[in-house]
Amino acid sequence: MQPLKKVEIILIAPELPKLQRLVEKLGLNYTVFHHATGKGDRGVRADDDLTGVFTNICMLTACREDQVPALAEAVRPLLKKTGGLCLVSDVLSLTH
């Protein structure tokens, strides 16, 4: 079991490609959950808008603690622009 940081980033779907590019630049692995709906300061995000651009994605990435600051800096402008959420917590990763 290796101690890592789990970073969860909730962002509006069409920004995913940008997010992926910048996470890959940091050399991180990640998992993405799609078609999440939600409610935030900028209103509701439902799945019934025909455009498909109003749903959220949630990216989960488990990384070393020293990688978190760079990730946070990279993500912040995206969150500023179209809103969202970025949560960091402690996890143990099963080494295989």
Binding site: V44, D48, L50, T82
Partner: protein, 331 residues
């Protein structure tokens, strides 16, 4: 407008399914079309209307009048967002004004398609290049809207002596001219035009023609459901935007009718041109604005187009414009 036209429009299955969808939401039935079915249906409708328009275009060919019509169409698509922007600025901040102006400057393919179904039912001919006109009218308003929003942001930033992120024209252009719905519509049009005079294209007809009304009905059922869901948000829009969502389409329809008369369009084409001017986009434009003008509030521009302008156009607008066309242009 005589009663029979109203009835022909009202008592057509697609319209009734739209109303059925609205009722479903209003009585709080849990009826809904599961995602991504609505997206699939709209992809089908764009492909089918594009392909059919292209095939007809292949038969009719490009004439001077066709070229003129397309030119005027683009002109309208640029002019409308410009003048509406300044009207909207009377009450709104630049971002929302720009987003709404773009919404009403662009078009609604489904409104157009519903009008073609109405023409089919009333056995009125229309030509394939009107689909090309629709395709050309979808994008310009997006560019206009984004430009207005960015210029305003620049001024604000200058005033606040802050810096503003540079305009990414490539991205805006892609959103405007290459977004999925525009691309599929134009692409299908080209495929239809390229194959229209060859045997092969006939094999597609059962798919693009026979299913068409049925898919439209199913899609309008969903449109009714989601339009009604947004009726609640209308309060937030307020009286000014509420009136805007009805009056501006009427004004654009009138301008469109004038242009159609000057262009010497026939009955069917005239109605379609009018409906294009009167309709507002709730797919391509919101998708683009959401990213290009994130400060604008979607529950304003989407709600107006979806919950007011769209129902108004297909329920009242089509027979109304039809009557105007008959009076002003003749059968």
């Amino acid at each position: 407008m005589n009663v029979d036209q109203l009835l022909t429009n009202f008592l057509s299955p697609p319209i009734l399914f739209f109303l059925l969808g609205m009722v479903a939401t209003l009585v709080r039935s849990d009826l809904e079309l599961p995602a991504p079915l609505p997206k699939i249906l709209s992809l089908y409708l764009l492909l089918a209307i594009g392909f059919r328009g292209g095939v007809e275009l292949a038969h009719s060919g490009l004439t001077a009048q066709v070229a003129a019509t397309l030119g005027v169409a683009v002109l309208a698509a640029v002019a409308v967002p410009v003048y509406t922007y300044f009207i909207l600025r009377l009450r709104l901040d630049p971002a929302n004004a720009a987003a709404i102006a773009a919404t009403y400057g662009s078009i609604s393919a489904v409104t157009f398609i519903t009008a073609t179904a109405f023409l089919d039912a009333t056995r009125v001919a229309y030509s394939g290049h009107m689909v090309a006109a629709m395709a050309l009218m979808e994008s310009p308003a997006i560019v206009v809207g984004v430009v207005f929003a960015r210029l305003a942001a620049k001024r604000a930033a200058a005033a606040a002596a802050g810096e503003v992120e540079p305009i990414d024209w490539g991205h805006i252009g892609r959103d405007a001219f290459l977004n999925g719905s525009v691309f599929l519509l134009v692409g299908s049009l080209l495929v239809g035009a390229a194959t229209g005079n060859r045997v092969g294209s006939a094999a597609l007809a059962p798919f693009t023609d026979q299913m068409f009304t049925g898919v439209l009905a199913l899609f309008l059922l969903d449109m009714g459901i989601i339009a009604a869901r947004r009726l609640g948000d209308l309060r937030r829009a307020g009286i000014f935007l509420g009136a805007f969502a009805i009056l501006v389409p009427l004004l654009n329809a009138a301008l469109g009718l004038l242009a159609a008369r000057l262009l010497g369009l026939g009955h069917g084409d005239a109605l379609l041109f009018v409906i294009l001017c009167a309709s507002a986009s709730y797919i391509a434009v919101p998708a683009a604005m959401r990213l290009a003008v994130p400060e604008a509030n979607p529950s304003l521009y989407v709600t107006m187009a979806l919950a007011l302008t769209f129902p108004f156009n297909i329920l009242v607008g089509i027979p109304l414009y039809e009557a105007a066309v008959l009076a002003f242009i003749g059968p």
